[in-house]
Protein backbone atom coordinates (compact mmCIF):
# COMPACT_ATOMS: atom_id res chain seq x y z
CA UNK A 1 0.00 0.00 0.00
CA UNK A 2 1.22 3.49 -0.79
CA UNK A 3 2.23 5.77 2.04
CA UNK A 4 -0.79 7.65 3.41
CA UNK A 5 -0.99 11.37 2.64
CA UNK A 6 -1.49 12.10 6.32
CA UNK A 7 -0.09 9.87 8.98
CA UNK A 8 -0.79 10.53 12.66
CA UNK A 9 1.07 8.47 15.23
CA UNK A 10 0.67 8.45 19.01
CA UNK A 11 -0.76 11.95 19.09
CA UNK A 12 -1.54 13.05 22.66
CA UNK A 13 -2.60 16.27 24.27
CA UNK A 14 -3.76 16.88 27.82
CA UNK A 15 -5.22 19.86 29.54
CA UNK A 16 -4.38 19.28 33.18
CA UNK A 17 -5.81 15.90 34.13
CA UNK A 18 -8.02 15.80 31.05
CA UNK A 19 -6.62 13.77 28.22
CA UNK A 20 -8.25 15.43 25.22
CA UNK A 21 -6.25 13.54 22.62
CA UNK A 22 -5.06 10.12 23.69
CA UNK A 23 -2.60 8.18 21.52
CA UNK A 24 -4.47 8.95 18.32
CA UNK A 25 -3.47 6.95 15.25
CA UNK A 26 -4.92 8.07 11.95
CA UNK A 27 -4.11 7.45 8.29
CA UNK A 28 -5.68 9.48 5.53
CA UNK A 29 -5.08 8.07 2.07
CA UNK A 30 -4.60 10.15 -1.04
CA UNK A 31 -8.00 10.81 -2.62
CA UNK A 32 -10.20 9.48 0.16
CA UNK A 33 -12.86 11.25 2.14
CA UNK A 34 -12.20 10.39 5.73
CA UNK A 35 -14.81 11.32 8.29
CA UNK A 36 -14.07 11.78 11.97
CA UNK A 37 -17.11 11.44 14.17
CA UNK A 38 -17.61 11.34 17.88
CA UNK A 39 -19.96 12.48 20.60
CA UNK A 40 -19.67 15.94 22.11
CA UNK A 41 -16.55 16.25 24.22
CA UNK A 42 -14.78 13.47 22.36
CA UNK A 43 -11.88 15.82 21.59
CA UNK A 44 -12.62 16.59 17.95
CA UNK A 45 -11.80 20.28 18.27
CA UNK A 46 -8.51 19.55 20.04
CA UNK A 47 -7.57 17.01 17.38
CA UNK A 48 -8.35 19.46 14.59
CA UNK A 49 -6.31 22.15 16.34
CA UNK A 50 -3.30 19.85 16.32
CA UNK A 51 -3.82 18.74 12.74
CA UNK A 52 -4.13 22.34 11.54
CA UNK A 53 -1.12 23.53 13.53
CA UNK A 54 -2.88 25.79 16.03
CA UNK A 55 -2.16 23.49 18.99
CA UNK A 56 1.09 21.79 19.87
CA UNK A 57 0.67 18.12 20.79
CA UNK A 58 2.33 16.87 23.98
CA UNK A 59 3.52 13.74 22.22
CA UNK A 60 3.28 11.97 18.90
CA UNK A 61 3.98 13.06 15.39
CA UNK A 62 2.17 14.08 12.24
CA UNK A 63 3.55 13.29 8.80
CA UNK A 64 2.09 14.97 5.75
CA UNK A 65 3.11 14.05 2.21
CA UNK A 66 6.21 12.32 3.51
CA UNK A 67 7.33 15.20 5.71
CA UNK A 68 7.20 15.49 9.49
CA UNK A 69 5.08 18.60 10.07
CA UNK A 70 4.58 18.19 13.83
CA UNK A 71 6.59 21.33 14.60
CA UNK A 72 5.21 23.50 11.80
CA UNK A 73 2.72 26.28 12.49
CA UNK A 74 -0.56 26.81 10.63
CA UNK A 75 0.77 29.10 7.85
CA UNK A 76 3.61 26.69 7.10
CA UNK A 77 1.19 23.76 6.90
CA UNK A 78 -1.08 25.76 4.61
CA UNK A 79 1.84 26.45 2.29
CA UNK A 80 2.47 22.69 2.12
CA UNK A 81 -1.10 22.07 0.97
CA UNK A 82 -3.08 21.74 4.17
CA UNK A 83 -6.30 23.74 3.92
CA UNK A 84 -9.15 24.03 6.38
CA UNK A 85 -12.56 25.43 7.07
CA UNK A 86 -13.56 26.47 10.56
CA UNK A 87 -16.39 25.18 12.72
CA UNK A 88 -17.58 28.73 13.23
CA UNK A 89 -17.58 30.44 9.85
CA UNK A 90 -14.40 32.41 9.45
CA UNK A 91 -14.23 34.82 6.53
CA UNK A 92 -13.18 38.44 6.05
CA UNK A 93 -16.52 40.04 6.67
CA UNK A 94 -15.63 43.53 5.40
CA UNK A 95 -14.16 42.22 2.17
CA UNK A 96 -16.14 41.04 -0.84
CA UNK A 97 -16.38 37.34 -1.63
CA UNK A 98 -13.91 37.85 -4.47
CA UNK A 99 -11.47 39.68 -2.16
CA UNK A 100 -11.68 36.79 0.28
CA UNK A 101 -10.75 34.20 -2.31
CA UNK A 102 -8.15 36.45 -3.97
CA UNK A 103 -6.39 36.69 -0.60
CA UNK A 104 -6.19 32.92 -0.45
CA UNK A 105 -4.74 32.88 -3.97
CA UNK A 106 -2.29 35.61 -2.96
CA UNK A 107 -1.12 33.65 0.07
CA UNK A 108 0.13 30.96 -2.28
CA UNK A 109 1.55 33.23 -4.97
CA UNK A 110 4.96 33.93 -3.46
CA UNK A 111 5.75 36.61 -0.89
CA UNK A 112 3.50 39.64 -0.52
CA UNK A 113 6.15 42.30 -0.05
CA UNK A 114 4.72 44.02 -3.08
CA UNK A 115 3.92 47.56 -2.19
CA UNK A 116 2.86 49.30 -5.33
CA UNK A 117 0.36 47.61 -7.65
CA UNK A 118 -3.24 47.54 -6.49
CA UNK A 119 -4.04 43.97 -5.48
CA UNK A 120 -7.67 44.40 -6.54
CA UNK A 121 -6.62 45.15 -10.10
CA UNK A 122 -4.26 42.19 -10.29
CA UNK A 123 -5.68 39.62 -12.70
CA UNK A 124 -3.07 37.10 -11.57
CA UNK A 125 -5.05 36.98 -8.31
CA UNK A 126 -8.55 37.87 -9.49
CA UNK A 127 -8.88 35.43 -12.38
CA UNK A 128 -8.12 32.26 -10.39
CA UNK A 129 -10.27 33.59 -7.56
CA UNK A 130 -13.24 34.14 -9.88
CA UNK A 131 -12.79 30.65 -11.30
CA UNK A 132 -13.00 29.10 -7.82
CA UNK A 133 -16.05 31.19 -6.93
CA UNK A 134 -17.74 29.93 -10.10
CA UNK A 135 -16.83 26.40 -9.15
CA UNK A 136 -18.49 26.62 -5.73
CA UNK A 137 -21.50 28.40 -7.21
CA UNK A 138 -20.83 31.86 -5.85
CA UNK A 139 -19.89 33.42 -9.17
CA UNK A 140 -22.80 35.83 -9.12
CA UNK A 141 -22.03 36.90 -5.58
CA UNK A 142 -18.39 37.87 -6.17
CA UNK A 143 -18.80 41.57 -5.39
CA UNK A 144 -20.98 41.12 -2.30
CA UNK A 145 -19.29 41.84 1.06
CA UNK A 146 -18.89 38.53 2.88
CA UNK A 147 -20.88 39.86 5.83
CA UNK A 148 -23.94 40.20 3.57
CA UNK A 149 -23.82 36.63 2.29
CA UNK A 150 -26.27 34.08 3.67
CA UNK A 151 -24.87 31.66 6.22
CA UNK A 152 -24.69 28.82 3.72
CA UNK A 153 -22.96 31.05 1.21
CA UNK A 154 -20.38 32.04 3.79
CA UNK A 155 -19.61 28.38 4.38
CA UNK A 156 -19.25 27.88 0.64
CA UNK A 157 -16.96 30.89 0.58
CA UNK A 158 -14.77 29.30 3.22
CA UNK A 159 -14.44 26.19 1.10
CA UNK A 160 -13.72 28.35 -1.92
CA UNK A 161 -10.88 29.98 0.04
CA UNK A 162 -9.53 26.57 0.95
CA UNK A 163 -9.75 25.35 -2.66
CA UNK A 164 -8.04 28.51 -3.92
CA UNK A 165 -4.89 27.47 -2.08
CA UNK A 166 -4.77 24.35 -4.32
CA UNK A 167 -4.67 22.09 -1.30
CA UNK A 168 -3.54 18.49 -1.12
CA UNK A 169 -5.76 17.96 1.91
CA UNK A 170 -8.99 19.65 2.92
CA UNK A 171 -9.85 19.67 6.60
CA UNK A 172 -13.54 20.48 6.90
CA UNK A 173 -14.71 21.25 10.42
CA UNK A 174 -18.47 20.65 10.53
CA UNK A 175 -19.24 22.09 7.09
CA UNK A 176 -23.01 21.71 7.47
CA UNK A 177 -23.23 22.93 11.08
CA UNK A 178 -25.96 25.50 11.64
CA UNK A 179 -27.50 24.95 8.20
CA UNK A 180 -31.12 24.33 7.37
CA UNK A 181 -32.08 21.04 5.73
CA UNK A 182 -32.06 22.41 2.22
CA UNK A 183 -28.82 24.35 2.60
CA UNK A 184 -27.20 21.36 4.16
CA UNK A 185 -28.25 19.09 1.32
CA UNK A 186 -26.86 21.54 -1.19
CA UNK A 187 -23.55 21.57 0.68
CA UNK A 188 -23.43 17.77 0.79
CA UNK A 189 -24.10 17.63 -2.95
CA UNK A 190 -21.31 20.11 -3.51
CA UNK A 191 -18.87 18.18 -1.34
CA UNK A 192 -19.82 15.04 -3.26
CA UNK A 193 -18.52 16.74 -6.43
CA UNK A 194 -15.15 17.22 -4.72
CA UNK A 195 -15.01 13.59 -3.65
CA UNK A 196 -12.23 11.65 -5.30
CA UNK A 197 -10.70 14.84 -6.67
CA UNK A 198 -9.72 16.21 -3.28
CA UNK A 199 -8.51 14.38 -0.22
CA UNK A 200 -10.80 15.39 2.61
CA UNK A 201 -11.03 15.03 6.35
CA UNK A 202 -14.60 15.62 7.32
CA UNK A 203 -15.36 16.29 10.96
CA UNK A 204 -19.11 16.29 11.23
CA UNK A 205 -22.04 15.73 13.56
CA UNK A 206 -24.55 15.26 10.80
CA UNK A 207 -24.68 11.48 10.25
CA UNK A 208 -26.51 11.76 6.93
CA UNK A 209 -23.68 13.87 5.57
CA UNK A 210 -21.06 11.53 6.98
CA UNK A 211 -22.58 8.33 5.66
CA UNK A 212 -23.25 9.92 2.26
CA UNK A 213 -19.76 11.27 1.77
CA UNK A 214 -17.23 9.23 3.69
CA UNK A 215 -15.11 6.45 2.22
CA UNK A 216 -13.86 5.65 5.68
CA UNK A 217 -14.87 6.76 9.13
CA UNK A 218 -12.86 7.04 12.33
CA UNK A 219 -14.73 7.21 15.60
CA UNK A 220 -13.28 9.38 18.35
CA UNK A 221 -14.43 8.76 21.92
CA UNK A 222 -12.78 10.32 24.97
CA UNK A 223 -9.81 11.38 22.90
CA UNK A 224 -9.18 7.90 21.46
CA UNK A 225 -9.93 6.49 18.02
CA UNK A 226 -11.96 3.42 18.93
CA UNK A 227 -12.63 2.26 15.39
CA UNK A 228 -11.79 3.01 11.78
CA UNK A 229 -13.53 1.47 8.81
CA UNK A 230 -15.94 1.79 5.94
CA UNK A 231 -19.40 3.20 6.71
CA UNK A 232 -20.81 -0.35 6.67
CA UNK A 233 -18.15 -1.58 9.10
CA UNK A 234 -18.72 1.34 11.42
CA UNK A 235 -22.47 0.80 11.39
CA UNK A 236 -21.91 -2.82 12.31
CA UNK A 237 -19.31 -2.16 15.01
CA UNK A 238 -20.75 -3.03 18.41
CA UNK A 239 -18.34 -0.83 20.35
CA UNK A 240 -19.25 2.17 18.21
CA UNK A 241 -22.95 1.53 18.58
CA UNK A 242 -22.57 1.36 22.32
CA UNK A 243 -20.42 4.42 22.62
CA UNK A 244 -22.04 6.61 20.11
CA UNK A 245 -24.59 5.70 17.52
CA UNK A 246 -26.88 4.04 20.04
CA UNK A 247 -27.17 7.22 22.03
CA UNK A 248 -28.42 9.21 19.08
Amino acid sequence: MAEPLLEVRGLSKSFGALSATDQVELDVLEGETHAIIGPNGAGKTTLIGQLAGDLRPDAGRIRFAGEDITALDAPARSRRGFARSFQITSVYRDFTALDNVALAVQAHAGHSFRFWRAARGDEALRAPARAVLEEVGLGARAEVPAANLAHGEQRQLEIAMALATKPRLLLLDEPVAGMGAEESQRMVRFLATLKGRETMILVEHDMDAVFTLADRISVLVYGRIIATGTPAEIRANAEVRAAYLGED
Partner: protein, 314 residues
Protein backbone atom coordinates in the same frame (compact mmCIF):
# COMPACT_ATOMS: atom_id res chain seq x y z
CA UNK B 1 -16.10 54.91 -7.76
CA UNK B 2 -16.02 53.39 -4.33
CA UNK B 3 -13.84 56.03 -2.73
CA UNK B 4 -15.27 58.89 -4.74
CA UNK B 5 -16.56 61.08 -1.95
CA UNK B 6 -13.51 60.60 0.17
CA UNK B 7 -11.28 61.65 -2.74
CA UNK B 8 -13.40 64.78 -3.16
CA UNK B 9 -13.10 65.61 0.54
CA UNK B 10 -9.35 65.21 0.28
CA UNK B 11 -9.14 67.39 -2.80
CA UNK B 12 -11.24 70.02 -1.03
CA UNK B 13 -8.96 69.88 2.01
CA UNK B 14 -5.86 70.30 -0.13
CA UNK B 15 -7.34 73.26 -2.01
CA UNK B 16 -8.40 74.83 1.27
CA UNK B 17 -4.93 74.36 2.73
CA UNK B 18 -3.34 75.72 -0.46
CA UNK B 19 -5.44 78.85 -0.14
CA UNK B 20 -4.35 79.60 3.41
CA UNK B 21 -1.12 81.60 2.78
CA UNK B 22 -2.67 84.08 0.29
CA UNK B 23 -5.80 84.39 2.43
CA UNK B 24 -3.74 84.98 5.58
CA UNK B 25 -1.70 87.63 3.76
CA UNK B 26 -4.88 89.31 2.58
CA UNK B 27 -6.32 89.34 6.08
CA UNK B 28 -3.00 90.36 7.61
CA UNK B 29 -3.03 87.25 9.83
CA UNK B 30 0.28 85.48 9.13
CA UNK B 31 -0.31 83.45 12.29
CA UNK B 32 -2.66 81.14 10.38
CA UNK B 33 0.12 80.03 8.07
CA UNK B 34 2.00 78.94 11.15
CA UNK B 35 -1.00 77.16 12.67
CA UNK B 36 -1.95 75.29 9.52
CA UNK B 37 1.64 74.27 8.88
CA UNK B 38 1.66 72.70 12.31
CA UNK B 39 -1.67 71.05 11.50
CA UNK B 40 -0.24 69.50 8.33
CA UNK B 41 2.89 68.24 10.09
CA UNK B 42 0.74 66.49 12.66
CA UNK B 43 -1.50 65.25 9.87
CA UNK B 44 1.51 63.46 8.37
CA UNK B 45 2.18 61.85 11.75
CA UNK B 46 -1.49 60.88 12.09
CA UNK B 47 -1.62 59.34 8.60
CA UNK B 48 1.46 57.29 9.46
CA UNK B 49 -0.26 56.04 12.59
CA UNK B 50 -3.42 55.22 10.62
CA UNK B 51 -1.37 52.84 8.48
CA UNK B 52 -0.67 50.56 11.45
CA UNK B 53 -3.65 51.44 13.65
CA UNK B 54 -6.50 51.70 11.18
CA UNK B 55 -5.31 49.19 8.62
CA UNK B 56 -3.04 47.00 10.71
CA UNK B 57 -4.97 46.98 14.00
CA UNK B 58 -1.83 47.86 15.95
CA UNK B 59 -2.65 50.43 18.60
CA UNK B 60 0.68 52.21 18.96
CA UNK B 61 0.53 54.47 21.98
CA UNK B 62 4.04 55.67 21.35
CA UNK B 63 4.09 57.38 18.00
CA UNK B 64 5.60 60.51 19.57
CA UNK B 65 8.85 58.52 19.80
CA UNK B 66 9.37 58.83 16.05
CA UNK B 67 8.49 62.53 16.04
CA UNK B 68 11.13 62.93 18.73
CA UNK B 69 13.78 60.81 17.06
CA UNK B 70 13.25 62.66 13.77
CA UNK B 71 13.64 65.99 15.56
CA UNK B 72 16.69 64.86 17.54
CA UNK B 73 18.35 63.47 14.41
CA UNK B 74 18.03 66.83 12.64
CA UNK B 75 19.16 68.84 15.67
CA UNK B 76 22.12 66.62 16.55
CA UNK B 77 23.41 66.77 12.98
CA UNK B 78 22.95 70.56 13.01
CA UNK B 79 24.89 70.83 16.29
CA UNK B 80 27.81 69.12 14.57
CA UNK B 81 27.62 71.41 11.59
CA UNK B 82 25.69 69.20 9.17
CA UNK B 83 22.95 71.44 7.81
CA UNK B 84 22.24 69.66 4.54
CA UNK B 85 18.51 69.04 4.59
CA UNK B 86 18.59 65.92 2.46
CA UNK B 87 21.14 64.31 4.78
CA UNK B 88 19.32 65.46 7.90
CA UNK B 89 15.90 64.25 6.78
CA UNK B 90 17.28 60.98 5.51
CA UNK B 91 18.89 60.49 8.92
CA UNK B 92 15.60 61.39 10.63
CA UNK B 93 13.66 58.85 8.58
CA UNK B 94 16.40 56.22 8.83
CA UNK B 95 16.79 56.55 12.61
CA UNK B 96 13.01 56.37 13.08
CA UNK B 97 12.79 53.26 10.95
CA UNK B 98 15.57 51.60 12.96
CA UNK B 99 13.84 52.49 16.20
CA UNK B 100 10.52 51.24 14.84
CA UNK B 101 12.17 47.98 13.82
CA UNK B 102 13.46 47.50 17.37
CA UNK B 103 10.19 48.47 19.09
CA UNK B 104 8.12 46.58 16.55
CA UNK B 105 10.18 43.40 16.81
CA UNK B 106 9.28 43.21 20.49
CA UNK B 107 5.77 44.64 20.56
CA UNK B 108 4.24 42.93 17.52
CA UNK B 109 4.62 39.56 19.23
CA UNK B 110 1.99 40.79 21.67
CA UNK B 111 -1.43 42.28 21.08
CA UNK B 112 -4.15 44.28 22.74
CA UNK B 113 -3.29 46.02 25.98
CA UNK B 114 0.25 44.56 26.02
CA UNK B 115 0.99 46.10 22.65
CA UNK B 116 -0.23 49.48 23.89
CA UNK B 117 1.81 49.25 27.07
CA UNK B 118 5.04 48.19 25.34
CA UNK B 119 4.90 50.97 22.77
CA UNK B 120 4.12 53.44 25.57
CA UNK B 121 6.98 52.13 27.72
CA UNK B 122 9.54 52.47 24.94
CA UNK B 123 8.44 56.03 24.28
CA UNK B 124 8.63 56.96 27.95
CA UNK B 125 12.13 55.54 28.00
CA UNK B 126 13.12 57.78 25.12
CA UNK B 127 11.44 60.75 26.78
CA UNK B 128 13.58 60.29 29.88
CA UNK B 129 16.63 59.70 27.71
CA UNK B 130 15.91 63.07 26.08
CA UNK B 131 15.68 64.74 29.48
CA UNK B 132 19.00 63.26 30.52
CA UNK B 133 20.82 64.36 27.35
CA UNK B 134 22.27 67.61 28.70
CA UNK B 135 24.44 68.07 25.59
CA UNK B 136 21.25 68.58 23.60
CA UNK B 137 19.51 70.80 26.10
CA UNK B 138 18.26 68.14 28.52
CA UNK B 139 15.01 69.04 30.21
CA UNK B 140 15.01 72.65 29.00
CA UNK B 141 15.62 71.84 25.38
CA UNK B 142 17.70 73.85 22.95
CA UNK B 143 17.38 76.01 19.87
CA UNK B 144 17.90 74.38 16.52
CA UNK B 145 21.15 76.14 15.44
CA UNK B 146 20.00 76.49 11.85
CA UNK B 147 17.06 75.21 9.81
CA UNK B 148 17.69 72.42 7.32
CA UNK B 149 19.36 73.77 4.18
CA UNK B 150 18.39 72.78 0.68
CA UNK B 151 21.06 74.67 -1.28
CA UNK B 152 18.86 77.62 -2.14
CA UNK B 153 16.27 75.32 -3.73
CA UNK B 154 13.84 76.03 -0.98
CA UNK B 155 14.21 78.25 2.08
CA UNK B 156 12.55 76.92 5.22
CA UNK B 157 13.10 80.33 6.84
CA UNK B 158 10.47 81.61 4.43
CA UNK B 159 7.19 80.69 6.10
CA UNK B 160 5.23 80.36 2.86
CA UNK B 161 7.80 78.26 1.02
CA UNK B 162 8.06 75.95 4.01
CA UNK B 163 4.26 75.81 4.15
CA UNK B 164 3.90 74.59 0.59
CA UNK B 165 6.70 72.09 1.05
CA UNK B 166 4.80 70.58 3.99
CA UNK B 167 1.57 70.57 1.98
CA UNK B 168 3.32 68.81 -0.90
CA UNK B 169 4.75 66.20 1.45
CA UNK B 170 1.38 65.65 3.10
CA UNK B 171 -0.23 64.97 -0.28
CA UNK B 172 2.59 62.58 -1.19
CA UNK B 173 2.29 60.75 2.13
CA UNK B 174 -1.48 60.33 1.80
CA UNK B 175 -1.17 59.04 -1.78
CA UNK B 176 1.71 56.76 -0.78
CA UNK B 177 -0.22 55.24 2.15
CA UNK B 178 -3.32 54.77 -0.02
CA UNK B 179 -1.24 52.98 -2.61
CA UNK B 180 0.34 50.87 0.09
CA UNK B 181 -2.89 49.72 1.71
CA UNK B 182 -4.35 48.68 -1.64
CA UNK B 183 -1.27 46.68 -2.63
CA UNK B 184 -0.75 42.99 -1.94
CA UNK B 185 1.24 44.02 1.10
CA UNK B 186 -1.60 46.21 2.35
CA UNK B 187 -4.14 43.45 1.82
CA UNK B 188 -2.14 41.16 4.09
CA UNK B 189 -2.00 43.55 7.04
CA UNK B 190 -5.70 44.38 6.61
CA UNK B 191 -6.58 40.71 6.40
CA UNK B 192 -4.55 39.96 9.51
CA UNK B 193 -6.38 42.72 11.36
CA UNK B 194 -9.78 41.57 10.16
CA UNK B 195 -9.33 37.87 10.97
CA UNK B 196 -5.99 36.54 12.14
CA UNK B 197 -6.82 32.81 12.43
CA UNK B 198 -8.23 32.83 8.92
CA UNK B 199 -5.18 34.68 7.64
CA UNK B 200 -2.83 32.12 9.16
CA UNK B 201 -4.98 29.26 7.89
CA UNK B 202 -4.71 30.39 4.26
CA UNK B 203 -0.95 30.53 4.59
CA UNK B 204 0.14 34.02 5.69
CA UNK B 205 2.48 34.55 8.62
CA UNK B 206 1.39 38.06 9.57
CA UNK B 207 4.44 38.97 11.68
CA UNK B 208 6.92 40.10 9.00
CA UNK B 209 4.22 42.09 7.19
CA UNK B 210 3.12 43.80 10.38
CA UNK B 211 6.72 44.58 11.27
CA UNK B 212 7.34 46.08 7.83
CA UNK B 213 4.20 48.24 8.15
CA UNK B 214 5.35 49.34 11.60
CA UNK B 215 8.77 50.33 10.24
CA UNK B 216 7.28 52.25 7.29
CA UNK B 217 4.91 54.02 9.67
CA UNK B 218 7.81 54.95 11.96
CA UNK B 219 9.77 56.30 9.01
CA UNK B 220 6.93 58.57 7.87
CA UNK B 221 6.44 59.81 11.41
CA UNK B 222 10.19 60.49 11.62
CA UNK B 223 9.82 62.73 8.57
CA UNK B 224 7.07 64.57 10.43
CA UNK B 225 9.56 64.97 13.30
CA UNK B 226 12.14 66.51 10.96
CA UNK B 227 9.47 68.93 9.73
CA UNK B 228 8.29 69.73 13.23
CA UNK B 229 11.76 70.68 14.49
CA UNK B 230 12.17 73.01 11.52
CA UNK B 231 8.76 74.41 12.30
CA UNK B 232 9.35 75.14 15.98
CA UNK B 233 13.15 75.52 15.65
CA UNK B 234 13.26 74.41 19.26
CA UNK B 235 14.11 70.92 20.42
CA UNK B 236 12.52 69.64 23.61
CA UNK B 237 11.92 66.16 25.05
CA UNK B 238 8.27 67.18 25.34
CA UNK B 239 8.00 66.15 21.69
CA UNK B 240 8.12 62.59 22.99
CA UNK B 241 5.81 63.03 25.96
CA UNK B 242 3.08 60.41 26.11
CA UNK B 243 0.38 63.07 25.80
CA UNK B 244 1.79 63.80 22.35
CA UNK B 245 1.30 60.15 21.40
CA UNK B 246 -2.23 60.52 22.72
CA UNK B 247 -2.82 63.59 20.56
CA UNK B 248 -1.79 61.74 17.41
CA UNK B 249 -3.90 58.76 18.36
CA UNK B 250 -6.85 61.05 18.87
CA UNK B 251 -6.43 62.73 15.51
CA UNK B 252 -6.77 59.31 13.88
CA UNK B 253 -9.82 58.27 15.89
CA UNK B 254 -11.46 61.69 15.56
CA UNK B 255 -11.02 61.82 11.79
CA UNK B 256 -11.80 58.16 11.17
CA UNK B 257 -9.57 55.09 11.31
CA UNK B 258 -8.59 53.17 8.21
CA UNK B 259 -9.50 55.99 5.84
CA UNK B 260 -6.12 57.74 5.26
CA UNK B 261 -7.88 61.05 4.68
CA UNK B 262 -9.69 61.00 8.01
CA UNK B 263 -6.57 61.56 10.12
CA UNK B 264 -5.82 64.73 8.12
CA UNK B 265 -9.28 65.95 9.01
CA UNK B 266 -8.71 64.85 12.61
CA UNK B 267 -5.46 66.81 12.89
CA UNK B 268 -7.12 69.88 11.41
CA UNK B 269 -10.15 69.81 13.69
CA UNK B 270 -8.25 68.95 16.86
CA UNK B 271 -5.50 71.57 16.52
CA UNK B 272 -7.71 74.36 15.17
CA UNK B 273 -10.30 73.74 17.87
CA UNK B 274 -7.63 73.60 20.54
CA UNK B 275 -6.27 76.89 19.28
CA UNK B 276 -9.62 78.64 19.04
CA UNK B 277 -10.81 77.44 22.43
CA UNK B 278 -7.55 78.33 24.19
CA UNK B 279 -7.82 81.87 22.83
CA UNK B 280 -11.29 82.08 24.23
CA UNK B 281 -10.85 80.56 27.67
CA UNK B 282 -8.01 79.04 29.63
CA UNK B 283 -10.31 76.18 30.60
CA UNK B 284 -10.57 75.07 26.99
CA UNK B 285 -9.97 71.42 27.85
CA UNK B 286 -13.34 71.33 29.63
CA UNK B 287 -14.98 71.92 26.26
CA UNK B 288 -12.64 69.94 24.03
CA UNK B 289 -12.76 66.83 26.22
CA UNK B 290 -16.53 66.25 26.08
CA UNK B 291 -16.54 67.08 22.37
CA UNK B 292 -14.05 64.33 21.69
CA UNK B 293 -16.00 61.88 23.84
CA UNK B 294 -19.18 62.69 21.91
CA UNK B 295 -17.50 62.14 18.55
CA UNK B 296 -16.13 58.79 19.64
CA UNK B 297 -19.52 57.75 21.02
CA UNK B 298 -21.71 58.88 18.16
CA UNK B 299 -19.51 58.81 15.08
CA UNK B 300 -17.94 55.39 15.05
CA UNK B 301 -16.15 56.10 11.80
CA UNK B 302 -15.03 59.51 12.96
CA UNK B 303 -15.81 62.88 11.43
CA UNK B 304 -14.67 61.57 8.05
CA UNK B 305 -17.27 58.83 8.22
CA UNK B 306 -19.97 61.52 8.50
CA UNK B 307 -18.68 63.17 5.34
CA UNK B 308 -18.21 60.25 3.02
CA UNK B 309 -20.52 57.68 4.56
CA UNK B 310 -18.50 54.85 3.16
CA UNK B 311 -17.53 51.72 4.93
CA UNK B 312 -14.00 52.09 6.07
CA UNK B 313 -11.36 50.16 4.23
CA UNK B 314 -11.45 47.31 6.74
Amino acid sequence: MRHGRRAIVFLGLVLLLAAVPPAAALLGQPFYVDLLRRVMIFAIAAVSLDLILGYGGMVSFGHAAYLGVGAYAVTILAVYGVHNGVLQWAAAVGASMLLAAAIGAVSIRTSGIYFIMITLAFTQMLYYLGISLDVYGGDNGMRLPMRSQFGGLIDLGNGTEFYYLVLGLLVLVVLFVRRLVDSRFGMVIRAAKSNEPRTRAIGFSPYPYRLAAFVISGGICGLAGALLINHTAYLTPDLMHWTRSGDILFMVVLGGMASTVGPVLGALVLLVLENALSNWTEHWQIILGPFLVLVVLFARRGLGGLLWREERDG
